[in-house]
Symmetry: C2
Subunit: 369 residues, 2 copies
């Protein structure tokens, strides 16, 4: 047990789970977290491997131990609920605000001390251990809630948890990139309906981040400018795709969006990652996040499936080129219809969009709040 | 009306549909195709636009006219069936073997003569017309059939149609890449259950092809070798992931596969595209294609959803670096479970696989034929 003070009066308390994993409670009322995990101990799965896909020089993680993981359990077996006598879950306490714990079936895991990354992988690179960390973040103990229904304080607590995890994971020598994302809805493959997200700390630059870094580097060289600053300036000048704004954040449907409903949320003042986000911008996030997600659910009056992903600068490179922003993408294109990534998108990476970004932005703006 | 002799005794006959689109019949028995499209004329949708996604310098096609297209119609309204009195479809004839017709709601369309591609697009590139061609290929007139149930002659006819389309589309000045793919199963978003595929001719290199070309170029420079030849040599030497072989083709689960069941089928003698595939390899495709798809459906004893995509060398570049091969990817990981591309895959491009490629290959080999 240990505890630590974070911004906004939030206290982090750590505890151990039965198999040695760590759980971190993020609290706003000075709670003491002493509950012991009563479950019997269980062996941790061994680390998987990464193999290089030679057709595009991208790592693919093979985590065969994940095949048997929990799949849409009934509410009474929800592993993300607080524990009750007779119903022991991943969270030993009988209540919580926000928790982050190490994933029980991680795709990426802490490597042995002999781990060595491969800098410039190619066809002849051997398979290596899939080094990294996978954590689960529960946004609330309320199974029926949703990110958009959280209070401002609750969202600020989630943001502090993201910031805290980014800070701590950035210090691990084998971590190159930290991603936080939420998958919502069975339509995008969610296996647990409890409001939660994931934190993935990769020992390599994920392919899309690497590509973004290459493009931002070329843009800097050509124009002298920071790519995301130019993007934000264009969105503000075009106006037609803006969905919501406040003093510190701008939400827009991107000029070349790939999903029927896609929203990017960026701070007005560019920062590389959560660590550099100041107090005022941190406070201003909750109201605009709630607004944007409420507009999204309002378009068809149904709970929209989405993937909401935080993009940050990598830990060790491109700190002045890549920028913190939130990408929310929904595959729902009409009340009974989803967009699927079929042949052109999935096999060739060529996206075809059925909806004009300007039209989708207007539909989002027209939602009565 | 015009007709043309193709290899294997196949005759192509062309006809016009009511709105000016072309339909091509590929026949093996010397049929005459004279049926006139009886439907009333309809305006063709206007061409859409392509915008550059500035975060990764990739074109996104915006085809807003596609939103209202036909969605899983009942069998009696199947637009890919032959026409009958009182039931007029996309195919005016009362029967057919294989047909290819211009898509009624194309994402990519023939540009005006003033179209000019943008060679090295970046943030400041303007939107341009989404030049290209989208065609539909019907593998059989039998709604209940499937690619794997076609006869050898029928599959050869489909292959000749792919080859013929590649030849003709390659001659258009604005076409850079020709892809042929089949999406099967409502799980991957198929909107028409009739056995059919699509042919997309792009006016740009699709992002995944561009990446493959960069990697193959670097591999050639470093090793002097052709990437796909080295990949095939490794699969043949490792043996454990081979699924099927014949004198001209090898089917394997790739070393770093991304989907629970993924099979690549490559000719033993490397060719850039369909045009260079010789008579013997063309004839040997049908039996191994049927075997591979039958094994895929046999793994769980259910019709598997899949995306089967033909990768070729681009029309004008990388002809000696990229190679014809067929990638079949299924998202079904267990009888009741699908793999979804969630946060890590979809937002960051980092693939996590639950199944070892060697295990998946063994399951495919173990299917009793």
């Amino acid at each position: 047990m240990s505890s630590k003070k974070l911004p906004a009066g939030i206290i982090r308390s750590d505890a151990r789970l039965m198999d040695g994993r760590t759980i971190r409670y993020y609290d706003t009322k000075g709670q003491t977290r002493t509950a012991v995990d009563q479950r019997s101990s269980e062996e941790q799965p061994s680390i998987g491997e990464m193999r290089l896909d030679p057709l595009n020089n991208e790592w693919v993680v093979i985590a065969a131990h994940r095949q048997g993981r929990v799949f849409l359990p009934p509410k009474e077996l929800n592993p993300l609920a607080p524990s009750k006598p007779g119903s022991l879950t991943e969270i030993p306490e009988s209540d919580y605000e926000v928790v982050v714990f190490d994933n029980r079936s991680p795709s990426l895991a802490a490597p042995t001390s002999s781990f060595k990354a491969i800098d410039d992988p190619d066809f002849s690179s051997p398979a290596i251990a899939s080094a990294g960390k996978c954590e689960v973040i529960c946004f609330t103990s309320d199974y029926e809630s949703s990110f958009k229904d959280l209070s401002h304080l609750q969202i600020r607590t989630v943001l502090e948890a993201w910031r805290d995890r980014t800070a701590e994971l950035s210090e691990l020598s084998y971590i190159e990139y930290i991603a936080a994302f939420e998958n919502r809805g069975e339509e995008v493959g969610v296996t647990l309906n409890h409001p939660h997200g994931q934190i993935y700390a990769y020992s390599y630059l994920p392919p899309k981040t690497q590509r973004m870094l290459e493009v931002a580097t070329a843009h800097k060289k050509k124009s002298g400018n920071i790519l995301l600053e130019d993007i934000l300036a264009r969105e503000l000048s075009d106006k037609v795709r803006i969905v919501a704004e406040n003093e510190h954040w701008v939400a827009y449907v991107p000029y070349a969006s790939r999903y029927p409903f896609e929203i990017h949320l960026a701070p007005r003042r560019r920062v590389p990652d959560f660590l550099a986000l100041d107090e005022a911008a941190s406070d201003a996030f909750a109201p605009i996040a709630k607004e944007v997600l409420t507009r999204l659910d309002g378009v068809f009056g149904v709970k929209m499936p989405y993937i909401a992903s935080w993009h940050q600068a990598p830990v060790r490179t491109g700190r002045d080129l890549l920028s913190l922003h939130w990408q929310i993408a929904s595959v729902r294109r009409a009340p009974g219809k989803l967009k699927y990534l079929a042949g052109s998108e999935s096999a060739f990476g060529a996206f075809m969009m059925d909806l004009k970004p300007e039209q989708s932005a207007a539909q989002l703006r027209d939602v009565a709040l």
